[in-house]
């Protein structure tokens, strides 16, 4: 295969694999910037994937046809947000250890969704949806030489939404009062409180947004790739997103970059065998690349990743 062919293979695959990570990591960013660790991203993705598939099957039943997956994305966003309430209530109102609460969320997500699937379909996984979110060639743009074939052919619309979301969130976080307040409760809640900002309310918003975005991420994954839902449909993407969040230093654009980088590593672990200089590299190296690289990145090769100062600590009025 020519170099161009390889690029034409790797680049779209990268963007495609990155999209769910971008959504989910952006979600994590809202939660963690507000001072609430969110190990539960994986679970939230599971719920998103579940909702995405079940809703699509349902809408298809109602005859919405090709609209079904898109309506289901909306449903997944809502359900994801609602489900994240578990984490919010436990770790904000009841001052639970945020990491533990997140872990519990992951347990619950898998247990509950598979449980429901068994009750709805009487079996361990759902049927396959007929209408997925499918690849498109963007008219005109795809004609652009070089980048056309790479960026605008065989692409998923959801990938564009993901990248747009990252940019919008970047603006919100750093240039709007909401962003400033969100960050302030993650850095120094007591200070924020004395400035009349309702700390716990901000944190609830942060967690709910993480649920919404992670739900979107899970649904996008399910509706572009898996096509149905089972207990193992989401297998680690949530934790990958968490890694992307940290690798990206809690900065929306950094997070997007990290997610794309992981997407690349993943796609290389597959296409690698066809790329000359990667051919005789054992697959395992490419498989573990994202994780190893994340660790290396964290050790400061790309500068220190500094978490929000007050992250992980429940807010006690008048404590210091």
């Amino acid at each position: 295969m020519s170099f161009m062919d390889i690029l034409a293979l790797v680049v779209p695959a990268t963007i495609f694999l990155a999209a769910p990570l971008i959504f989910t990591a952006i979600g994590g960013l809202f939660s963690e910037r507000s001072g609430v660790v969110n190990i539960g991203l994986e679970g939230l993705m599971v719920v998103g994937a579940f909702t995405g598939i079940v809703a699509t099957l349902y809408f298809e039943g109602l005859g919405f046809g090709a609209w079904s997956p898109w309506l289901s994305l909306v449903a997944a966003v809502i359900v994801g947000a609602v489900f994240s309430l578990f984490h919010a209530v436990a770790s904000i109102t009841f001052k639970a250890d945020q990491i533990v609460s997140g872990v519990a969320l992951n347990f619950l997500a898998v247990g509950l969704t598979v449980f429901l699937v068994r009750n709805i379909y009487g079996k361990g996984q759902t049927d396959y949806v007929t209408h997925r979110i499918s690849r498109e060639n963007i008219p005109l743009l795809q004609e652009i030489p070089f980048i056309g074939p790479l960026l605008f052919q065989r692409v998923y619309f959801t990938s564009f939404i993901a990248i747009a979301a990252a940019i919008i969130v970047w603006y919100i976080i750093f240039y709007t009062p909401f962003g400033l307040r969100l960050r302030s409760v993650g850095e120094h809640p007591t200070a924020a409180d004395t400035m009349g900002i309702a700390v716990n309310r901000m944190r609830y918003i942060g967690v709910l947004l993480s649920g919404a975005f992670a739900g979107m991420g899970g649904a996008v994954f399910a509706l572009t790739t898996a096509g149905n839902f089972a207990g193992n449909t989401i297998a680690g993407q949530g934790f990958m997103a968490l890694a992307a969040l940290i690798f990206g230093k809690w900065h929306p654009l950094g997070v997007m970059g990290a997610a794309l980088f992981f997407g690349l590593a993943q796609s290389l672990s597959i296409t690698g065998q066809t790329i000359p200089f990667l051919q005789n590299v054992p697959q395992v190296y490419l498989l573990i690349a994202p994780y190893v690289l994340t660790i290396l990145a964290l050790t400061g090769f790309v500068g220190k990743a500094e978490a929000p100062r007050a992250i992980g600590k429940p807010y006690e009025k008048g404590s210091r």
Binding site: Y175, T176, L180, S184, E187, T190, M195, G196, I197
Partner: protein
């Protein structure tokens, strides 16, 4: 005389204790009103209630004669009440401007209008002489400037009534002086101020009236003109207290600590201790006076082996400590009361007992072949708690649950009990009330009289002046003068600390 604030019969309970019990305080238009009380007396609590952070269980609050219900800081802000907190309320990695506008941001088309904000801030800082740089990050500016930011925060929200909670505890003498000027400027502009402080001198110098609380109970309000420090202290503690620690003359003997040409660099590779020479003799208290940030911290860390020494030597009774690790230094006979009790002095989540053996847990009799003998540890702790009158339910109580004063006593018990050749006390009385201060000073002098060497580092000039037998002035990492407390005064010290020349330099030597 019209009252802008009236807090009548306020009561506030926390799990376990009554923080405020039927306290009444009235703030007059345009006055500076002191709020005085021991640690844990309930001052911060009372003010937090006024600021809407806590809700009172009983009592009423009137602002400009109208009964109000201050449910949260927003309400306080609307009523023109602003508070500068005991522990600064600033977001370290935000800029000054961001900190000030947080919560009431000016916007243009949904986007924060940072220029507008910075302009308004500059206007305020000019009006009240509060110099700040709106673009600077908090973590990069001095404590003094941070406090000015805190003040501007309140003014930016149009505060008419300002509450200062222990504003001077963390400041250098210079900064304290500036702050006092600022407060005077504020009242001149028609603002009213409540000032919480443990420092009677400050009260005497700036305040019009003073309300005293003891263990949560309001003792009363007095006109400052008609009272004096001793009377105030007595009101606060409930008994006579004597400041001039009575003591016999020191009999210094051989050099215990000798430091030659010491050079220590900080993280930024700047030599913060820069060719420093110093001797501390047995049987004397050597006080180090200096403006914060002139190398005191690094000097102590170097002596105690917490920081790498770049050049020079340190010896203890002739033994070379220069290259030793902290533990070896400690074993060589150095006791260290660190300046930050919460960060270095204690493991807050350990029990008192576990903290008591922090330096000795690995030694007999507290442990044998790597197994700790807890009965012995508890036994010892009970003894020290008794001896140093640490107010705690039991030796099993977590250090966290003690007030700063008692936490400090526990540390001193631990360090002094080992009766080290050299005792280093860094700001041993910061944030403590006069009762605790008195106790700690007595302990230091006892050690001296036992023939130990004591190195006292403090930012509080009168502490240095009261307690030391000799005073070494540190400036830019060097000892620039050694003076005799009896023959000097704050003016001269202040001058030396600022790098100024002095006629009698080195005379005491």
């Amino acid at each position: 005389m019209n009252n802008v604030i009236e807090m009548n019969n306020i009561r506030k309970e926390f799990p376990g204790i009554v923080a405020n019990d039927n306290i009444t305080i009235q703030l007059r238009q345009g006055e500076i009103h002191a709020l005085l009380g021991e640690n844990g007396a309930g001052k911060s609590t009372l003010m937090n209630i006024l600021f809407g952070l806590y809700q009172p269980d009983k009592g009423e609050i009137k602002v400009r004669g109208e009964k109000v219900n201050i449910t949260d800081p927003n309400v306080a802000n609307r009523l023109g009440i602003g508070m500068v907190h005991q522990h600064f309320m600033l977001v370290e990695n935000f800029t000054v401007a961001e900190n000030i506008i947080l919560g009431s941001e000016p916007t243009k088309a949904g986007r924060i209008d940072i220029r507008k904000a910075e302009k308004e801030i500059r206007e305020l800082s000019e009006k009240y002489g509060l110099s700040v740089d709106p673009k600077a990050k908090i973590e990069d500016i001095s404590v003094g400037m941070q406090q000015r930011v805190e003040i501007i925060k309140t003014l930016y929200r149009g505060a008419e009534i300002l509450i200062f909670d222990e504003p001077t505890a963390a400041l250098t003498p210079q900064e304290i002086h500036e702050l006092i000027q600022i407060m005077k400027a504020l009242v001149k502009e028609g603002k009213s101020i409540i000032l919480i402080t443990h420092k009677l001198k400050e009260i005497m110098s700036v305040c019009d009236r003073c309300t005293v609380i003891r263990r949560g109970v309001g003792i009363g309000t007095v006109e400052v003109k008609e009272t004096n420090p001793d009377a105030l202290a007595a009101m606060m503690v409930g008994r006579e207290v004597n400041f001039k620690v009575d003591r016999k003359k020191a009999e210094p003997k051989h050099n215990v600590l000798e430091i030659n040409d010491l050079v220590v660099q900080d993280v930024r590779k700047v030599s913060v201790v820069n060719g420093l020479n110093l001797e501390v003799k047995s049987g004397e208290i050597l006080g180090i006076a200096g403006v914060d940030g002139n190398g005191q911290t690094e000097l102590i860390e170097a002596i105690t082996g917490l920081r790498k020494i770049n050049n020079g030597t340190i010896t203890l009774n002739g033994k070379d400590l220069t290259k030793l690790k902290t533990r070896k230094v400690t074993e060589a006979g150095i006791g260290h009361i660190p300046q930050d009790r919460h960060k270095h002095g204690l493991v807050l989540d350990f029990s008192i007992a576990e903290n008591i053996v922090l330096q000795t847990y690995y030694q007999e009799p507290y442990s044998k072949n790597k197994v700790i003998n807890f009965p012995v540890v508890f036994e010892k702790s009970r003894k020290l708690i008794e001896e140093y009158d640490v107010r705690t339910p039991s030796e099993h109580t977590l250090a966290r649950a003690l007030s700063g004063g008692n936490q400090q006593k526990a540390i001193i018990a631990r360090e002094v009990d080992r009766s080290p050749e050299l005792l280093i006390a860094a700001q041993p009385t910061r944030g403590l009330d006069v009762g605790a201060i008195e106790f700690i000073h007595r302990k230091l002098i006892e050690e001296r009289d036992k023939g130990r060497a004591v190195l006292l580092v403090s930012l509080e000039l009168d502490e240095v002046l009261n307690v030391s037998d000799r005073i070494a002035v540190i400036y830019e990492g060097k000892i620039v003068a050694i003076v005799d407390p009896k023959e000097t005064d704050e003016k001269e010290l202040g001058l030396l600390m600022a790098g100024g020349e002095s006629k009698r330099v080195g005379e005491a030597k």
